[in-house]
């Protein structure tokens, strides 16, 4: 025995890992890989939809209306005979823009509120936290309905309503993170070394508190698209004949009993996209928690 004084192992028991596989292969989990492919597909649809779909999303073909999915039209056709697959591919750009816009609004609001509350403490923190709680009492969809009633339906209304509606959750998360970092041992250690408050905020609090942003962003885009498409489904979002996914859903509503694919296929695009973003977001989260946090 070379050394009988074993250092206390930081690894929990049963944490044995295979050693023979190369690192990149080990970390290539099937779920994450699949999700990456889905996202790559939709990104390509955003940049160059014509590469993925040869038919025009607006080409009317009255001889082939309401055809079920087949070899010729893999997602089927709508009541005007337009190819649904092409419409879904061409709709990706606008849908993703709405998702990004709403998430941008949401993150901007939540960073301002969360960081201000977390750093200030005292009365200001109390007031902001209360405000966040008030915002929690407005469900995203209802807020959307209210905004549509007040401002009329439009993409901007949709983006702002979904952005405000999803902000309180993220704001609370960021505030909690700022507070956790502020109360951490390393911030106190920095104080004890005589560092200025500004330096501690800049070097410790801000970078550590912003770590979950990547995750929030990834999860947020998927969530926003789901919410916005819900509004559009009710006829309060982007109007047909745009191939935006929510507009497709709304257009298909009246044909549910005869042509299920008009609802199911655009919905599938939304679900796949959101689920892939969730999968990637969660894997980033795990990596952050496993590699950096305690």
């Amino acid at each position: 025995m070379s050394s009988v004084f074993s250092a206390p192992s930081a690894a929990p028991p049963l944490a044995g890992r295979p050693i023979s596989l190369p690192r990149w292969l080990r970390e290539l989990r099937p779920g994450v890989t699949l999700a990456s492919f889905v996202i790559a597909f939709f990104l390509l649809a955003v940049i160059a939809p014509s590469l993925l779909a040869s038919r025009s999303p607006y080409a009317v073909d009255l001889a082939n209306t309401l055809r079920a999915p087949s070899i010729h039209h893999i997602f089927g056709t709508d009541e005007s005979g337009r190819d649904l697959y092409s419409r879904v591919v061409y709709g990706a750009r606008e849908s993703l823009l709405i998702g990004l816009g709403a998430t941008g609004v949401s993150i901007a609001i939540s960073i301002v509120l969360g960081v201000t509350a977390g750093l200030s403490g005292g009365i200001l923190d109390g007031a902001i936290s209360r405000g966040i709680e008030v915002m929690f009492s407005f469900p995203v969809l209802l807020l959307g309905l209210l905004f549509v009633a007040v401002f009329g339906p439009s993409i901007t209304t949709e983006i702002i309503a979904v952005g405000i509606g999803t902000a309180p959750g993220y704001a609370r998360m960021i505030r909690g993170q700022v507070l956790a970092v502020r109360g951490s041992g390393y911030v106190e250690a920095g104080r004890a070394l005589g560092h200025r408050h500004r330096r501690i905020v800049r070097r410790h609090i801000f970078p550590n508190a912003m770590r979950p942003l990547v995750v929030i962003f990834t999860l947020g885009v998927g969530q926003s698209i789901v919410w916005a498409s819900g509004l559009a489904f009710l006829g309060l979002g982007v109007a047909p004949p745009s191939p935006e996914w929510g507009a497709l859903l709304n257009a298909g509503r009246n044909f549910v009993t005869q042509a299920w694919w008009l609802e199911v296929m655009p919905g599938l695009a939304i679900v796949l996209f959101a689920l892939s973003l969730t999968t990637i977001g969660r894997s980033i989260q795990q990596k952050l928690e496993g590699g950096l946090a305690r």
């Binding site: 407005f138 469900p139 209802l142 209210l146 009633a149 339906p153 498409s229 009710l234 006829g235 609802e263």
Partner: protein
């Protein structure tokens, strides 16, 4: 082998404040000081709830006030179905009726005062008190919401108890189901359930109205995504609690796995889900709008969509305020449920 060094707050929070061989006096239920403390806490909670409602009402009012252009013009246009401008004489009676000619601050005070007396305003399109319209329509929506919440809890708990920490494959199956369902949009899930179970298999009616059989698919549609959501937080907590020493203690007394899960772990693990349910109630009511639209089910959904389309702001904001009230009430209930589940919180 770590010895915890408590922070000052922990020291202060330690039972009796002092440690040592002398047994600390436990708080005895029913002493005047304790009931006073509880009364003060309940009072503070109620005040907080009122403050949330007041702030919510203020927010809703100012969103309304942001309405671009003249509200009277909008109203007349909606009523006539035309887009035109009106003379002052034409607008004045409308402005008088709805108080648009008063200063904003007076309108605000009127609005808050009205809410305090249960007056949620008058619908622009139906010319009836908002509360009357809502109470006429809300019944089936509340039934749907309640049923969905019940479904969500049953599914989430059954899934967690059955699959949490049961070997890699089963656990992955359970948590995979939760991740997928938690993100499902209502319209999509609804359409699929409708097509499969009502149109193809004909197990449930396509248009169920308010019948019990007609409730199942809509309630599942509304409940399954919430089940996924509740399931996720419950599973995280459940797996953490399963590793706690007191669980090993119970096993070492001879308790079986199911007994441990049901009698010890579950109670500790449901707390986050209880919090989530309070929050989810508002979201469920709003989700019901979509579900009702998919299944052509009666409820506030149809009314609300029509109101939003026809710019009937008082009716929409009335529903928003009611949901805020439900949210606040639900969270008071959550607080009570918390203390019932975790009696430790009653003393703090």
């Amino acid at each position: 082998m770590s010895v915890s060094t408590p922070t000052p707050a922990e020291v202060a929070a330690a039972p009796g404040g002092a440690k040592g061989p002398s047994p600390s006096r436990p708080p005895v239920a029913g002493t005047p000081r304790r009931s006073l403390r509880i009364a003060r806490r309940v009072g503070a909670r109620l005040l907080g709830a009122l403050a949330v409602l007041w702030a919510a009402a203020t927010f809703v009012f100012f969103v309304q006030a942001l309405l671009p252009g003249s509200r009277a013009t909008l109203l007349l246009n909606e009523a006539s179905g035309q887009q035109q401008s009106y003379s002052k004489a034409q607008l004045l009676p409308v402005e008088k009726e709805y108080g648009f000619n008063k200063p904003l601050i007076v309108q605000y005070l009127d609005y808050i005062g009205g809410l305090a007396h249960g007056n949620f305003g008058t619908s622009y399109t139906q010319h009836q008190p908002v509360l009357t319209i809502i109470s006429r329509e809300v019944g089936p929506t509340l039934v749907l919401t309640g049923a969905a919440l019940a479904f969500a809890w049953v599914i989430a708990l059954a899934l967690t108890i059955a699959t949490a920490k049961r070997g890699r494959f089963v656990s992955a199956l359970g948590s995979g189901f939760e991740i997928v369902t938690a993100g499902l949009p209502y319209y999509w899930l609804g359409v699929i359930l409708l097509v499969v179970f009502a149109i193809d298999l004909k197990v449930f009616p396509v248009q169920g109205g308010t019948s019990l059989a007609g409730l199942v698919l809509p309630a599942l549609t509304l409940g399954i995504p919430l089940a996924g959501f509740i399931g996720q937080v419950t599973r995280d907590e459940f797996e953490k609690v399963l590793d706690q020493p007191f669980v090993t203690s119970a096993r070492a007394r001879g308790m079986g796995d199911l007994g441990v899960r049901l009698q010890h772990v579950l109670r500790h693990a449901v707390l986050p889900a209880v919090t989530l349910s309070g929050w989810a109630l508002g979201a469920l009511i709003s989700g019901a709008v979509i579900v009702e639209s998919v299944f052509a089910r009666p409820g506030i959904g149809n009314m609300l969509v029509t109101a939003a389309e026809s710019r009937d702001v008082p009716l929409v904001s009335g529903v928003v305020m009611l949901v805020a009230v439900v949210y606040v009430l639900a969270n008071l209930l959550v607080d009570l449920a918390y203390v019932a589940i975790d009696p430790r919180l009653s003393g703090a």
